[in-house]
Symmetry: C2
Subunit: 151 residues, 2 copies
DNA sequence: AGCGAAACGGACCTAGTTATCCTATTGTCG
DNA sequence: CGACAATAGGATAACTAGGTCCGTTTCGCT
């Protein structure tokens, strides 16, 4: 479903999206909080920076931060630069020619499955994830919730 | 979305499901028709035989065949024995404890995405795929279609 | 200007997946 | 029974993804 790399990227992005404030956060901090190997995470974040999802800053006090507001970054934006998405366009049965007109037996079925998946990735933003509150939290703050007025 | 191995398995199974007759088909035949490396395909089919999706027969005239009627084999049955499905149960964010009660921020979202995918795999049978007719075929046989009376 | 903290980039190592090859083993046919 | 055709299964090679290491560059701070 997700490669290890894609999963790591998601962990880091969710971490950053949920962290209050606008400052840069360092690789070490993110790695420690998400359990991702620091050196490898650095590579991943560099790729995300290259694809303009993240913004990076060298030197003291530097690190990474979201390059756009949370609600404008989808799960697709995070995963797309890291996984072999070109395979998505290729026919599962290996036919050279396979499209809506000339289709392999699996085409319609697989197109639907693929569509659902990509649709979900495209329609879910980091905002949606960041807004999440566990049931425990919801119960705890049910009556006197200041956090919900954020919006 | 699918590993190479899973894709190859699907190709072979669709081929067998669409092939008329009940006899065994050899690895070489399937490999030639689906473009899958023959030796590797043999390994895959052996695994599918071990997981009771296929039936195998050694010796002259031997090969593989579906172990159950087409309509009782789902895409999930084909892919499940070959891919690391245990990962599906693990929290994407890496939390040791993550379930409906105590959940990570991604839990609900990812559960939905996963559910759609697995649901599709479970609800699509080889019969559904085998029944497929391309638009060209549909047009060709539109008026005098004997094939549709199969059911 | 000099120091240290960070990302950047390249080289390299490791492990898992994909693919090949070779030797059994088991079946059919003459 | 012997020849042959097929799967079964083990060993191994090739490739790719995952992961580490180290020197370089860029920045903030004093």
């Amino acid at each position: 479903m997700l490669t290890q790399t894609g999963e790591y990227a998601l962990r880091a992005m969710v971490y950053m999206a949920r962290k209050p404030g606008e400052g840069f956060c360092g690789v070490k901090e993110i790695a420690a909080s998400t359990g991702v190997p620091a050196n490898y995470l650095a590579k991943i974040l560099q790729q995300l920076a290259r694809s303009k999802v993240l913004d990076s800053q060298k030197g003291f006090g530097g690190g990474f931060r979201l390059n756009r507001p949370r609600e404008e970054i989808t799960l697709f934006d995070v995963i797309d630069p890291l996984e072999r998405v070109e395979k998505f366009d290729q026919c599962v049965l290996g036919q050279r020619l396979c499209n809506d007109q000339v289709a392999c037996p699996l085409h319609d079925t697989w197109k639907a499955i693929k569509g659902q998946y990509l649709g979900s990735l495209h329609s879910t933003t980091l905002q949606d994830i960041a807004d999440f509150r566990s049931k425990a939290e919801v119960l705890e703050h049910k009556s006197t919730s200041p956090a919900l007025s954020k919006r």
